[in-house]
């Protein structure tokens, strides 16, 4: 049975540090011969910000017709959802926050309309991976991003305990992560372990 991996490259900078980290994780995942993988760079995804209109609480869908239509279905279908985004100004980059806020349609579905977000047989099986990089060397530089990330995963039926994190600080200029002593090995280990975990879950 194939494992479906959906990955978002949430940086406005293509092939920068957070996307490199993502590529390492995805390459490790792709070593499993039966993985269906898609990487969506948010710079090309045409996802607008949430309008805060709350119409989804009644309609069970968003009133905006944009790239989120396609992404919405892919989020439901995936086994593993990976979000990679850099920290700008002590928070997640605005491009990634747009995607996160557009998950409001899932919040409405789950908590207001009380409808299933994923088919019942897949509930509790999905895994999330959050990858991030930051220029600052402060250990707390990722703290403000995490509540938004948890919220994003929770509303798409990935529990807190099923989110894996790899966050690398003190990488600023493009390519800085290539010189990081452990990032690549950590990313490869994470990718392999997440696939192994999903294989176990799908077999159970």
């Amino acid at each position: 049975m194939p494992v479906k991996v959906l990955a978002f490259a949430g940086s406005p900078r293509r092939n920068g540090n957070s996307e490199t980290l993502l590529d390492w994780v995805l390459a490790a995942m792709a070593k499993d011969p039966d993985v269906i993988m898609e990487k969506i760079p948010l710079t090309e995804a045409n996802i607008n910000p949430c309008k805060g209109c709350n119409a989804c609480q009644k309609l069970n869908r968003c009133v905006q017709r944009d790239g989120m239509d396609r992404v919405h279905d892919k989020i439901i279908e995936a086994d593993i959802i990976v979000l990679a985004a850099p920290i700008f100004c002590m928070g997640i980059a605005a491009q990634a926050k747009m995607l996160i806020d557009r998950a409001q349609v899932f919040t409405s579905r789950k908590y207001v309309l009380k409808l299933p977000v994923v088919p019942v047989e897949r509930k509790g099986k999905r895994l999330g991976v959050f990858l991030s990089t930051a220029g600052q060397d402060w250990s707390y530089v990722f703290d403000a991003a995490i509540p938004s990330v948890k919220c994003f995963y929770n509303v798409i039926e990935v529990k807190d305990k099923d989110i894996r994190y790899l966050m690398v600080n003190h990488v600023d200029e493009k390519g800085a992560i290539l010189n990081h002593p452990t990032a690549k090995a950590d990313a490869e280990r994470l990718g392999a372990s997440v696939i192994a975990e999903m294989r176990k879950r799908l077999a159970a």
Partner: protein
């Protein structure tokens, strides 16, 4: 000298809870004799930061749009009130998109050292964060504070106060909150008096 107060509304949704709370603050500030301007981000034309780091080489942003003029206004104001509702445990993407564009000011401060705020300047410039959240959790604003701190630090404002009200879903809107609008109005009056006093006595 008249105190200038700039309010920035970062909600995508006009005249909602957060903008109403900001309006109350600005009304109080106006009543205390300040000159007040409100900018609604959703009416501006700007894009989020591209992360290109070109500003690290020049101190200028390569994207010329409304964000640059707004940073110009921010740098001229005595008091800055930044408003955003909490969406998914953080500020809105609109506001985050604007804040991230301040990277060129960071470059001027820390790379070129052409922008510097004295302690006295920072003391006389007061920043307030105005926010509402649907959830009733006390920690619902925590993810917002660091980015707000970042823009105040970057533009020379002391992070003076928060005007925040949670549990909007249960109150069914800010107008039904027992005290938030009145407190916002009073904080608007007070901050103008505090800045006036600082400008006279130093």
């Amino acid at each position: 000298m008249t105190v200038s107060v700039l309010g920035i509304s970062g909600s995508p949704h006009r005249h909602g809870n957060t903008e109403t709370l900001l309006d109350s603050f600005l009304d109080g500030a106006k009543a205390a004799g300040s000159s007040v301007e409100k900018v609604v981000l959703k009416d501006l034309d700007y894009s989020p930061c591209r992360g290109c780091n070109a500003c690290h080489k020049t101190g200028e942003c390569v994207v010329r749009d409304d964000a640059i003029a707004l940073f110009g206004k921010v740098l001229k104001a005595d008091c800055l009130a930044i408003a955003s509702p909490i969406y998914t445990m953080g500020i809105t993407a609109e506001l985050k998109g604007f804040i991230d564009r301040g990277q060129y000011l960071w470059a001027r401060k820390f790379i070129f050292k052409t922008l510097y705020f004295t302690d006295d300047h920072i003391k006389r410039h007061k920043g307030l964060f105005v926010s509402t959240a649907g959830q009733n959790w006390d920690h619902v604003f925590d993810g917002a504070f660091p980015a707000i701190t970042a823009i105040f630090n970057g533009t020379g404002f002391e992070y003076y106060d928060n005007i925040i009200a949670n549990n909007m879903d249960e109150y069914k809107g800010i107008k039904n909150h027992p005290s938030a609008l009145k407190e916002a109005y009073e904080k608007g009056q007070k901050v103008v008096r505090v800045i006036e006093k600082l400008n006279i006595t130093g």
